[in-house]
């Protein structure tokens, strides 16, 4: 380096991004050390949304806790309900009837589609593309309406019960869902046309924030971000739950592990989710939706007026809950963000002794400093968006 160039060296600057910044997807603060436009170091500061769910859940009964689980990841909230229920069901030895399994899969995949739609919409918004946001949120609205139909809620469904579901699907749901699926593949084509192949998107995303597979594994990435690096790890395939092994679907894989791959892989995953829902709809046979064991499943509503025994069980379940045999359980599941699981410790009482959430966003966000190092500041925003963190899931 000649002496003149040395004089022109830019002074390092520390820039505070957030906590309230539209492109931080919630409340995330980044301390970025910059040399000109180049990012030298990123230090994420999290915890702004920490509400102590894990502590609170130790003081509520197993069924009451289903109110808390969706509030962590509010975009793919059904995955949290499901992961929690699966761990508790494992401790209890509960058997979920086939119809409930199929409905769980349908709703889980619908919720995944809604989450990926937000990802595509807001992710491209961060790159300056305003239009996809409106298109994505139009479809998401339809999905949320479907959820409102089934569960009464748009985000915080509270629809899963330990051993099954709260109630059966409404009659109109299946025809409406079919209507949505008929147009959905075509809509995904539309999104793809909006940005894949666009020279601006290519320039902003190709080769930006490359995470090689070895680094991705070392830093604990899971979900679409890991598969973008070419690692074929999908919990639905590797450790099947809720009967995912009986469905026929592909796991889209990336090759480069850059922002482009991470963005596009979610589009392909939406198609696969729609494919799973179509197969599930064919299997939807009438049948019970809860494990009939009265010690932890609520009796059917119509029995309450006629059966004294049902009324007693209902009263006991509603006031003191049910007791779960002592032990520790963990069931990995695939949320829209990666491997999600609840490590539930029971002491034999009616409340969990300890609940630890293996939150995918929390672990995934660790790789942001690695991916963003050496890139332009504007790329940092794109990389953050492509990792798809939900801050409620990070902070819990």
């Amino acid at each position: 380096m000649n002496p003149e160039a040395k004089e022109l060296r830019t002074e390092e600057m520390v820039l505070n991004v957030g906590p309230q910044h539209p492109s931080t997807h919630g409340v995330l603060r980044l301390l970025v050390t910059l040399a000109g436009e180049e990012v030298l170091e990123v230090v994420p500061h999290v915890g702004y949304l920490h509400t102590g769910f894990e502590k609170t859940m130790e003081h509520r009964t197993y069924h009451q806790n289903i109110t808390y689980t969706p509030r962590m990841d509010y975009l793919h909230s059904f995955a949290h309900d499901l992961a929690y229920a699966l761990s508790v069901e494992k401790l209890l030895g509960a058997e979920v009837p086939p119809r409930a399994q199929v409905i769980r899969v349908i709703l889980n995949e619908l919720s995944r589609i809604a989450s990926h739609l937000v990802f595509v919409g807001t992710g491209l918004l961060d790159l300056g593309a305003l239009t996809p946001f409106f298109y994505a949120f139009r479809e998401r609205e339809t999905v949320l309406d479907l959820f409102e139909w089934v569960t009464g809620q748009r985000f915080h469904h509270n629809y899963i019960r330990i051993g099954g579901l709260k109630e059966d699907l409404p009659e109109e749901f299946v025809p409406e869902l079919k209507k949505f699926l008929d147009t959905f593949d075509h809509r995904v084509d539309d999104y793809q046309g909006l940005f894949v192949g666009s020279p601006i998107f290519e320039a902003r995303a190709r080769g930006v924030g490359v995470i090689p597979p070895e680094v991705a594994i070392a830093y604990g990435l899971t979900g679409g971000s890991l598969r973008a690096s070419g690692v074929n790890y999908d919990v639905r395939k590797a450790y099947p739950y809720s009967g995912y092994d009986t469905y026929d679907f592909e796991v889209p894989l990336g090759t480069n592990g850059d922002t482009w791959d991470r963005m596009v892989i979610r589009l392909l995953e939406m198609r696969e989710s729609a494919r799973i829902i179509r197969q599930a709809l064919e299997r939807l046979e009438p049948g019970p939706i809860r494990d009939p064991n009265p010690h932890f499943s609520f009796p059917p509503k119509e029995l309450l007026a006629t059966s004294m025994e049902a009324l007693i069980f209902h009263f006991k379940l509603a006031t003191e809950g049910f007791e779960v045999p002592p032990g520790e359980a963990y069931v990995p599941t695939e949320s829209a963000r990666g491997e999600l699981g609840y490590y539930v410790v029971s002491d034999g009482g009616s409340m969990p002794y300890r609940v630890k959430v293996r939150a995918p966003s929390f672990v995934n966000l660790q790789s942001l400093p690695v991916a963003a190092k050496g890139h332009q500041f504007a790329d940092l925003v794109a990389i953050l968006a492509s990792l798809d963190p939900v801050m409620g899931d990070v902070d819990r």
């Binding site: 999290v46 915890g47 920490h50 102590g52 894990e54 502590k55 609170t56 130790e58 003081h59 009964t61 494992k90 401790l91 597979p213 594994i217 070392a218 830093y219 604990g220 899971t222 690692v231 074929n232 790890y233 999908d234 590797a238 450790y239 003191e320 809950g321 007791e323 002592p326 032990g327 520790e328 359980a329 963990y330 990995p332 491997e339 699981g341 490590y343 410790v345 002491d347 034999g348 009482g349 009616s350 409340m351 002794y353 300890r354 630890k356 293996r358 929390f362 672990v363 966000l365 660790q366 902070d395 819990r396």
Partner: protein, 194 residues
């Protein structure tokens, strides 16, 4: 021979107690040689550390060797090279009077934030961690909320009409020891020591 079976063979060879329950393979590691065993598991091909869970066994009915436990979750990641999807849960018990254990961040960088979380919420110090700072709770909080002796609902609340919620009484209602303020006796809790 899967890596899970190799881990069982390793545990037998080194006289470590292990337990296979609810399809989780728990291997209890001694605190002093934690790092050496974890290094052996890494060499065995468990290339992915998924989770670090801290548990406070203060109020647990069944006696445990020490008050705290840290449970690691090691995976041989399926879909990458020769990964076979084996999952093991090594655990280490940490005494209350000296809550320190070795960090494994140099073996699996993904342990960084999870270890910071355990440090923040349970107060266990990971020796050799490159950046052991609080991560979730506010800077000014000098406590570890997930410890069992950290109370819930501790903020005293004064309402406009002069009503005052006493945390102690409120908590008693929640834990089912007496009726508390709400008049509702909450869920029964087995193994309640206090």
């Amino acid at each position: 021979m899967t890596r899970r079976e190799r881990a069982i063979a390793y545990a037998e060879e080194h006289e470590l107690t292990y337990e296979d329950r609810h399809s989780l393979l728990h291997i209890v590691l001694p605190l002093s040689s934690l790092k050496a065993h974890m290094r052996a598991f890494k060499a065995m091909g468990f290339n992915y550390l998924a989770n670090v869970t801290g548990i406070d066994y203060l109020e647990y009915p069944e006696p445990k060797p020490e008050r705290f436990a840290v449970v690691y979750e090691l995976v041989s990641l399926p879909g990458w090279k020769d990964g076979d999807g084996s999952r093991i849960y090594p655990r280490v018990y940490v005494p209350e009077d000296r809550p320190r254990l070795a960090s494994v961040v140099d073996l699996w960088p993904s342990a960084n934030w999870p270890e910071r979380e355990v440090f923040d919420l349970l107060g266990l110090v990971f020796e050799g961690h490159p950046d052991l700072r609080k991560i979730l709770t506010p800077e000014e909080l000098e406590a570890h909320p997930l410890r069992k002796d950290f109370p819930l609902g501790e903020t005293p609340t004064l309402f406009k009409d002069g009503r005052y919620i006493d945390p102690e009484a409120f908590r008693a209602g929640l834990k089912g020891k007496d009726k508390g303020l709400t008049g509702w006796r909450g869920g029964r809790r087995k193994g309640e020591r206090r």
